[in-house]
Symmetry: C2
Subunit: 329 residues, 2 copies
DNA sequence: TTGTATGCGTTATCAG
DNA sequence: CTGATAACGCATACAA
């Protein structure tokens, strides 16, 4: 392993000089700069990241905190998009990423979590899919100990940014499109887990729409569960003329139930997962670009880590219909 | 941040003594051991992983090298299982994991890849889904520079282990079951990408079966593609009485094609992904426990890193039929 | 059994 | 503009 010492010796300069040209310090003559760079290239020297972070006390190390709740198709797809978006962007920004699953820290106290991350040299954390019940994460955010970005939760303070699509508007938009296309009057809305922040927002969206359009709205808690959506659809769909769902998995459950019941109701979902193409019936849904959301989250974390303050970042969404022909590869 | 120095001072001993009790060295009196441990607990001291690895020159740091080939349902599900299995087991073994996507190193030379991983303090690498065309990875393995575990590829040497199910037997088993259940005579086999190591093995399995049972075998290259499987099924399924596929995605493509063609042929797949439950028809398939495979891979890497030699590890598979009722949550 | 001293590879602070 | 030198937090050979 070629170290800075080797470079220094070979170039006939001091270690500190090499360090300076590596880090683009001023006050280094062009001549020595060139000489050092030449040697660096020739020897294929790459700074030892471990030593750099020990010395500089800055790790640029980031943790992705991911919930592996239900092991459904949907969550796998979404989490993979999150991870790959983050990892790629992180490499670009020279950050180092580790993946942590919520289950790994679930019975730790804030202090334990803090020292765990600290011992790992973590400076920033991205939290995906946080709920109101995640007390430890709330405390972590309040402590201001780490720079944090929460995806799909409204936390913002000096060291915390939030990144998400506009769930209120997105739910409003997709439902409106579906309802107008089918001239509906009575909406069955299957909401998500009531501990989720997005659940509240999406509910706001559908309520706003129904008030505006003067539609009858029935809300049931489907807990983001395909099975639960299936049951609720069986029970309540007859009295409605469309089923608006707060997630694609619920939309799929609802649609499959309707097919089994042999009645037709337009259904719309939320997320834009590939599985929507396999159900046999097309549905409107909100396409969230999870990769991009995660890239933005990394960028935002980078911003925070360079000293800037937290803020709210909103990502654009898109309305789509997912067909089998479109997704088959 | 509480350091070893603080602990030493508080406990009234030398830093080296603290280090010794932390690392369970012999020759430390019970008394000081207790005292130190008490202080460690009280102060909530956790060793700084960065400093540890710089000092010991051993990082225990591991990279997961993942291919993000086609962004299909299947690969997301499989990769998430791989990642979560590895991350969890790694935490248990006190290893530190980073995720790297093949695309991030695809246009690097071996030297560049080596110094990249080296600079990141990586000592071991798990390669998922390697193909015969991955020249750089081959060279990396030959170099013996890192401890490596290849999942689904037959590489083994002093510093390299392979982990996978027995693809020959698995393909043989699942096809046999399907063929016997349906009394088939003429098999259409849709093989995978011919650069994949598993492709060869699975092909061996089906060939063996067909010879044994004296069945007519037609082999076509479906490239693990759902679309390609669809096309091939449309073209060739009429002349066969069953379709054996080297992957679930192809099985799904084939089954959907058969439904559209309005003819029936038993179809079997390979992998055991959840999506199989959404196709409407049940199929036999091989269930690979990707989480466990990845856990084993980490264990194996840990073994290699503690000085042992590479070997071949085989994981058990299972034959299943995936029904919608089973997977809905 | 315990403590001292040195080094790991780098950055940063000073003199020169 | 350049070069010693002291950190960073910990491990470890060696001395006591």
């Amino acid at each position: 392993m070629v170290s800075i010492k080797d470079v220094a010796k070979e170039a006939g300069v001091a270690i500190s000089t090499v360090s300076k040209v590596l880090n683009n310090y001023p006050n280094v003559s062009e001549k020595t700069k060139n000489k050092v760079n030449e040697v660096v290239d020739r020897l294929g020297f790459v700074p030892n990241a471990v030593a750099v972070s020990l010395s500089s006390k800055k790790t640029g190390r980031v943790a992705l905190l991911i919930k592996l709740s239900l092991s459904t198709q949907a969550s796998d797809e979404i989490n993979m998009r999150y991870i790959s978006g983050a990892v790629h962007k992180a490499k670009e920004l020279q950050l180092d990423v580790i993946t942590v699953f919520a289950s790994m820290i679930e019975d730790m106290t804030v202090e334990e979590v803090t020292s765990y991350f600290e011992s790992q040299g973590i400076r920033g954390i991205i939290v995906y899919g946080m709920t109101t019940k995640d007390k430890v994460i709330h405390k972590l955010i309040d402590s201001g100990h780490f720079k944090m970005v929460v995806v799909d939760a409204p936390m913002v303070n000096d060291s915390t940014s939030s990144v998400s699509v506009d769930h209120v508007k997105a739910q409003y938009d997709v439902a409106k499109k579906t309802i107008i296309e089918n001239k509906c009057k009575k909406v069955l809305y299957l909401a998500g887990e009531d501990t989720g922040y997005v659940t509240k927002d999406r509910l706001l969206g559908i309520k706003k729409l129904c008030e505006e359009k003067n539609l009858k709205l029935t809300v049931r808690n489907g807990q983001f569960s395909e099975l639960r959506a299936r049951e609720l659809t069986m029970r309540f769909a007859k009295n409605a003329d469309c089923v608006v769902c707060a997630s694609d998995m619920m939309a799929i459950g609802a649609m499959k139930a309707l097919i089994d019941m042999d009645i037709f109701r337009p259904v719309c979902g939320f997320d834009g997962i590939i599985l929507m193409g396999y159900v046999g019936k097309q549905m409107n849904t909100v396409k969230q670009d999870f990769t991009k959301i995660s890239e933005k989250a990394i960028c935002e974390l980078n911003r925070l880590m360079s000293g800037e303050n937290g803020r709210k970042v909103t990502i654009k969404h898109e309305l789509v219909r997912i067909k089998y022909e479109d997704i088959i590869v």
